[in-house]
Structure formats: structure tokens, C-alpha cells
């Protein structure tokens, strides 16, 4: 238990849609150890994204226990969750979610600024930029980058502050086969070279196979 970087027990989340209660998670038990690359698959509405949002400290659970890097998220305030997003977890989204008015370099710089990093050169991050193959695209704005390039920038932004956990929500969902493969190779490379813990949501079993193990979700529960 103590070696787990992510641990949930009987995790539940219920949304209110008008006056109707909609259960999104119905008791999820999950343990992830540092350095693991875990894929999560499941149909739409199975609770994958909700699980991500809770582990990523974007929303609190309704009940149950959830510990991330030793922090109890169920008891955490909004400010505490903000701190966790700043230092412990980071996201890669299906729609890249780069700030459209900033260059790739500035998108990464904003994340560094929010994370409280200084302006000194980071050799580790320079190596990641080389790994991502985007060093010559940093001065372009998102609308001048291909989908694959945007996602690589998003990955660079996600790891710039050396988070303990990288949460990738359908990172290849908007990419063609070639770029999907490249992005998945990058995630696997990050995991293997730097020991980055990664949780990846995907619909694609081939993509899921890049992880060390795959968890299947359905109707708000882990089923396999």
C-alpha cells in the first residue's frame, strides 16, 4: 500500500443533472505503483474520464478514498487540489489544449511559470525536447503545427515540471495512424527512460498495448 503512487478504494462520484443523480463511478479500487504505464479502456460513459478528473485533482470524489503521491484528495481543499496539479500531476488531452495565442515555446513557458520553475536551462528537459523531435517547431503557434506536433508540444508542456504522474486522456484520439504511433512511442520512451508514471485512457486496444497493463472499465467500475 505505501509504495503506491495512486491508490483508490471504493471511489464513487455522482453528478447531479438537474434533480437527477447520475453515478459516474460506483466503487473503483485501483493501485498504481511509481513508474507504471497503465492503460485504461472502456466505452463512453464507463467512468474513465471521471476517474482521471479525480486522480488529476480537477474534481473531488463524492465518497471513497483516493491518495495520490501520499496526498488524500478526498479531504483536500480547492487550493490543495490546485497545488497538486501544479506539482504532482499533469495532463495530455485528446484536443491538445494548447493556448492558441502563444507559441509552442511560450505554452511550455507558461507551465514552467505556473510550476514556479526558474529561468535556468534544464538539461533533463532539453533531452526530452530532443526525444520529442520538436526543437525546431518551438517558435510556431498551434495553428501552424500539425496535430502530431501539437500533441508533442502538449506532452513537453506536461512533463516540463517533472510531475510524478502523467495523465493522458485519449492522446491519440485526434491523430492519424502514423502520428498516433509516434506519440505512443514517445509516451513509452518517457516511461522507460525517465520512469514517468503514466495513466492513459484510450479506446484503441493497440494503443492500450503500449502500457504495462490494461484496466477495463464499464458502468463506473473496473471490470478487468
Amino acid at each position: 500500500m505505501s509504495s503506491a503512487i495512486i491508490e483508490t478504494r471504493d471511489l464513487r462520484k455522482t453528478y447531479m443533472v438537474g434533480k437527477v443523480q447520475v453515478p459516474a463511478l460506483r466503487g473503483v479500487d485501483l493501485t498504481v505503483v511509481p513508474g507504471e504505464f497503465v492503460s485504461i479502456i472502456g466505452p463512453s460513459g464507463s467512468g474513465k474520464s471521471t476517474l482521471f478528473h479525480i486522480i488529476g485533482a480537477l474534481t473531488p470524489p463524492t465518497s471513497g478514498k483516493v491518495r495520490v503521491a501520499g496526498e488524500d484528495l478526498a479531504a483536500m481543499t480547492d487550493a490543495g487540489r490546485t497545488r497538486l496539479r501544479k506539482r504532482i500531476v499533469s495532463f495530455v488531452f485528446q484536443k491538445f489544449n494548447l493556448l492558441p495565442n502563444l507559441t509552442a515555446r511560450d505554452n511550455i513557458a507558461v507551465a514552467r511559470f505556473i510550476g514556479g520553475a526558474d529561468h535556468k536551462s534544464d538539461p533533463h528537459f532539453e533531452e526530452i525536447l530532443r526525444l520529442l523531435g520538436i526543437a525546431d517547431r518551438l517558435d510556431h503557434k498551434p495553428n501552424a503545427l500539425s496535430g502530431g506536433e501539437q500533441q508533442r508540444i502538449a506532452i513537453a508542456r506536461a512533463v516540463v515540471n517533472h510531475p510524478a504522474i502523467l495523465l493522458a486522456d485519449e492522446p491519440t484520439g485526434n491523430l492519424d495512424t502514423e502520428n498516433s504511433k509516434a506519440v505512443l512511442e514517445i509516451l513509452r520512451g518517457l516511461n522507460e527512460r525517465t520512469g514517468q508514471t503514466i495513466l492513459m485512457i484510450t479506446h484503441n486496444p493497440e494503443a492500450a498495448a503500449y502500457g504495462h497493463r490494461t484496466i477495463a472499465m464499464r458502468d463506473g467500475r473496473i471490470v478487468a
Binding site: 501544479k86 495532463f91 493556448l99 507551465a111
Partner: protein, 353 residues
């Protein structure tokens, strides 16, 4: 485009404030200069005068001029009758020989002085002549009479329109009456002492030194101008507040997804609020600069179209005040949209299309 429009809209009240201040200060400076140039040391109004800068008809019997001229240290006593024209201009009636003796006379740019025996001669100063497109020798219709423009005088002395005193007294049905009397002393340094002595001797008259009279022209000493300034400043703050509030509210709507991205990166509520306030501050700075530039445009327009009526000056000391007023409106206006952005749920914000 939205930002440029906002900056322009914020600039409008800045221009309004700077133009109002420029006009009031300009009119004050102009009035002070023209009064100072009379060469008088003491000014006397009728007892009914509401203030030192207003004229209540012609309540002073002309006999006072003779009595005052006989007082110790009084070298000259010159009676003036004032008739208001369109705001804020006055026509002043003088005895030219007496006035010249006190002030040193006018500087004539065209024509010459009022001619003896010509009751409908008039002098116009250059700005008013330009505004009316008149030259020496022209005829001008005023107060239901045709006047002969005898001369165009340099601005900055007494009034923009000067006519014979007796004519104006007749037209105002105030024969033998004056609006004010100027006194020239043998020693200007004695002005305070002479005023004290005259007040005792003529308790029904309002008697002040020229220094006091000039100080009364300062806009802050004129209650109506002071209140008007506050009203315009208030309007400026409200417009700045409303423009920035609307602009920032639209910005928050447009950038909902970006706010979600920043929150997913760990951006705190304070960080989001700071971004919004910084942007509002940028709008405020831009609006102030645009407002200052537009105030130069306003001065050009005023000096081109009504040079005599509203002599506007650029009051640089008010740039900082206008900036502070604008920033207050802008930051207040950004507060609600900024807090609203800071409170955005990150998941909903990220899902915003």
C-alpha cells in the same frame, strides 16, 4: 479588434475629463491674464455681486468713480460696464482715454481705437474676430445694432469685445451706472491697506485686491465648475468601469477553455484573477494614452472652431489623475469577470467549445 475598440471606448471619458479640465483651466488662465492686463490694483463690484467673477448688471452709480479717485493713494479710477454676450463672452464698455491711461492701451493688429463721437465703434480681439470672420472696417450686428469694427486688438486685455461705455449704458438702460470699477494706486504694494481703508469708507461695495480677484478665477474656487468636474469624473469612472466590465466579461466567455487549460496546469484562482486584472490594467493604460492623444484633437477642434469662446489648454498635471481615475474604473470593472473566471470549474471550462 475587441481590444482596440475597448481601448478607444476607455479613451473617450479620459478625453472628456482632460478636455473639461483643459477648457476650465484655459478659460481661467485667459480671464486672469485679461484682468491682470488692465493694470488695476483694486477691483470694486456692487454689493449684490454673487462672486468676484460674476457681474450683476450695472449696480454702481458712476459717482463712485469720482469719490474713489479722490481717496489717498488712488491714482486712477476707471468705471466699466459689462454686458454678457453668448456664454462665456462679455462685451465691456469703457472710456478709452481713461482705460488707456490705466492699462497702457491696446495693441492694434488692424485699424485703431474707438473714435470720439462714434458711439457704435467697437474693438474685437483677434480670436473673436477670427471666430466671427471680421476685420477692421467691417460691420457687425450685435444687440440689435450695427457696429463698426474700428480695430482688431491683440488678445489678453480686458475683454474680447470692447465698446464705448456711454453706448452700452444706453443700450442696457443703465445711464450713469457701472458694473465694476478698477483702481490704480500710486504704489501697488499698498493695495491691502487701501482695500481695508476703502471697505470702512464704502461698506456697501465689494472691494478686493487684484491678487484676490485673480485667485477667484481658479476653477477650484468656482463652485459650479468644481461640481461639474466631479460629475464628469464620475461619468468617466462609470464609463471606464462599464466598458472594461463588458470587455472582460466577453473575454472570459471567449477564453473559457483557455482558463480551463491554465487551471489544469495548476493555475490558482489568484493567478487567473491576476491575468484578468493585468489585461484590464493594459486596457486602462492604452485607454489613457488614447484619451490624452484625443484631448490634443479636442484642443485642435476647439481652437479651430471656437477659439474665443473656449480657450483650451493641455493640463499635463491631470494626465496622472486621469490615469488614476481610468485605472480605478478598469480594475473595478475587471474584478467581477476576473472573479467569475477564477471560479470556473476546470472540467466544464475544458469541455467548453
Amino acid at each position: 479588434m475587441r481590444t482596440l475598440l475597448s481601448v478607444l471606448l476607455i479613451g473617450v471619458p479620459v478625453t472628456l475629463i482632460l478636455s473639461l479640465v483643459g477648457v476650465s483651466e484655459g478659460m481661467s488662465e485667459d480671464a486672469q491674464n485679461r484682468t491682470r492686463a488692465t493694470g488695476a490694483d483694486i477691483v470694486i463690484h456692487g454689493s449684490q455681486a454673487a462672486s468676484a467673477v460674476t457681474y450683476s448688471g450695472a449696480p454702481l452709480p458712476e459717482g463712485y468713480t469720482r469719490k474713489l479717485a479722490e481717496q489717498p493713494h488712488v491714482k486712477l479710477a476707471v468705471g466699466i460696464i459689462v454686458h454678457p454676450l453668448e456664454f462665456p463672452l462679455n462685451m465691456m464698455g469703457i472710456d478709452q482715454a481713461q482705460f488707456d491711461a490705466m492699462s497702457g492701451g491696446f495693441t492694434y493688429l488692424e485699424g485703431g481705437p474707438l473714435r470720439p463721437g462714434q458711439p457704435f465703434d467697437m474693438l474685437l480681439d483677434k480670436p473673436y474676430a477670427d471666430q466671427q470672420k471680421k476685420h477692421a472696417g467691417d460691420t457687425m450686428h450685435l444687440l440689435n445694432n450695427d457696429w463698426h469694427v474700428a480695430g482688431i486688438i491683440a488678445p489678453g486685455k480686458l475683454a474680447r469685445v470692447v465698446v464705448p461705455k456711454a453706448t452700452l449704458q444706453d443700450l442696457d438702460s443703465a445711464p450713469g451706472k457701472l458694473s465694476l470699477i478698477y483702481l490704480k494706486l500710486d504704489d501697488p504694494a499698498r493695495a491691502d491697506a487701501v482695500v481695508e481703508q476703502l471697505r470702512q469708507q464704502f461698506p456697501n461695495l465689494k472691494i478686493d485686491t487684484m491678487a484676490f480677484q485673480l485667485s477667484q478665477f481658479a476653477p477650484d474656487n468656482i463652485a459650479s465648475v468644481r461640481v461639474f468636474r466631479y460629475v464628469v469624473i464620475g461619468i468617466g469612472v462609470v464609463i471606464g468601469f462599464a466598458v472594461v466590465c463588458l470587455t472582460m466579461y466577453m473575454a472570459v466567455l471567449q477564453r473559457t477553455r483557455e482558463i480551463g487549460i491554465l487551471k489544469s496546469l495548476g493555475g490558482s484562482k489568484g493567478f487567473i484573477l491576476r491575468i484578468m486584472l493585468t489585461e484590464a490594467a493594459g486596457l486602462g493604460i492604452g485607454g489613457t494614452i488614447v484619451g490624452i492623444l484625443l484631448s490634443y484633437g479636442a484642443r485642435w477642434a476647439i481652437s479651430t472652431f471656437v477659439p474665443a469662446s473656449f480657450p483650451m489648454i493641455i493640463v499635463q498635471s491631470w494626465w496622472v489623475k486621469a490615469f488614476a481615475i481610468t485605472m480605478a474604473g478598469a480594475l473595478l470593472g475587471a474584478l467581477y469577470p476576473g472573479l467569475s473566471a477564477a471560479r470556473h470549474d476546470p472540467i466544464e471550462a475544458l469541455a467548453y467549445e
